[in-house]
Amino acid sequence: MIQLSIVDLAIAAALVLLLALLSMRLHSAISRQLVVAAVRTAVQLTLIGLVLKVLFANASLGWVTLMALVMLLIAGREVMMRQERRFRGWWGYAVGTGSMFLSSFAVAVFALVVILGDEPWYAPQYAIPLLGMLLGNTMNGISISMDRLTHAAWEQRNVIEARLMLGQRWDAAISDYRRQAIRSGMIPIINAMAAAGIVSLPGMMTGQILAGVAPVEAVKYQILIMFLISAGTGLGTLAAVTIGSRRLFDERQRLCLDRLR
């Protein structure tokens, strides 16, 4: 593998700076954002590189769990912030975070123990990247589906209540919107699987090939990851939409839009 030096990265950074200068000439407001984002990438990735270095050197279950929890809590916050109409109070945080915990953690631990079977099973070299990819993707699925669900409940309240008035149960009254929400959460990963290798080479596989892994080995890992991500996203989306749609109704099955903000 070709080791990258600071100079190599500086040359790549020069390209970004050039772009920033060009857009400044065009009086585009994007140049500032571009530079800020580029700096954030460099700083954040360097920091996480250092964290992983320390973590790999101290591969204890406690440290790996702590790291995993920090990742989960940050992803949970991200899910909450991406929803225009989220649940009020701690529910807004708990639905997404809880669903990600159920899906991403379960799938990651399952893959680590049953499929990869490294000694120890929580070896951070496998556990952290795997969980990271799972969280990143379930986060998208859950936030899209929850946004869709709460939006539909808000916009279609008359339809949902009309169905309640005719004696339908809450789950029948919201069934159409629940189905649409689950579908829209699953679409990105289905598209990614369908297009993998044709339209684009998946990033993880590309990274492994660049690092010198044989293409067929890299492909096997990519397939594994895709399947894990779709399982994780599917479970997470189902859990979030199921919990979320129940939370939209109270114990007398009344539509409670005052629980949204």
Binding site: N158, V159, E161, A162, R163, L164, M165, L166, G167, Q168, R169, W170, D176, D250, R252, Q253, R254, L255
Partner: protein, 207 residues
């Protein structure tokens, strides 16, 4: 002659600016509530159908709402909102058990059942929404401006269909209308909302 036991008992019902309301309605009786908009008439109907949190109780045939599953309560105490909502493409899709009344009686033809909902006028939707509610055979009808989008002829037809349902099924009706003459015409007992309180009115006083 002994008085029949009430079909619907409303006990100290309160929701936001309206109430507390206490009322008994016997089977086969129609009761109207008139009053300007924004006085909480619709809120009262929603509370009776248990669609909003409220204080107080409503009993149907001696059983409180809280003792019944919500979906069972709402299919027996049916609310017709002023604006109807539809969720399937064709009109017919919303009528699992057929139409309760020949559609000619409400000024429509049977062919309307095969039309897409999107092509209906608001008056057609309002009449069909009443049909959809009646096909559930509710014991109590809570009607919120059921003829607001209708011309005088169709208004009379709908009034006749509701009166007949009420008599045949021995149902109870609470009819909310901003039209005081209609309120006096359709009901045996008339009320008006003033300052959040239901006040009984003589039908002649509303004309």
């Amino acid at each position: 002659m002994s008085t029949p036991p009430p079909l619907l008992e409303i006990k100290e019902l309160q929701r936001l600016m309206i109430g507390p309301v206490s009322l008994d309605i016997v089977a086969g009786e129609c009761l109207s509530i008139a009053g300007p908009s924004g006085t909480g008439k619709s809120l009262l109907l929603r509370a009776i159908a248990d669609l909003d949190p409220h204080t107080g109780e409503v009993w149907l045939e001696g059983v409180p709402a809280a003792a019944m599953a919500p979906e069972e309560w709402r299919s027996r105490v049916g609310l017709l909102p002023p604006e109807s909502s539809w969720w399937l493409p064709l009109v017919r899709d919303h009528f699992y058990d057929g139409v309760p009344v020949p559609l000619e009686h409400i000024g429509l033809s049977e062919s309307i059942l095969d039309q897409p909902v999107a092509r209906l006028s608001s008056g057609e939707k309002q009449r069909l929404a009443l049909m959809r509610l009646l096909s559930n055979r509710p014991r109590v009808l809570l009607l919120d401006e059921p003829t607001a989008n209708l011309d005088p002829d169709n208004t009379r037809r709908i009034e006749a269909v509701i009166a007949e349902y009420c008599r045949e099924q021995q149902a109870a009706v609470i009819w909310v209308s901003h039209d005081r003459q209609q309120a006096a015409r359709v009901a045996e007992r008339c009320f008006e909302v003033t300052g959040g309180v239901l006040q009984a009115r003589k039908p002649e006083a509303l004309q």
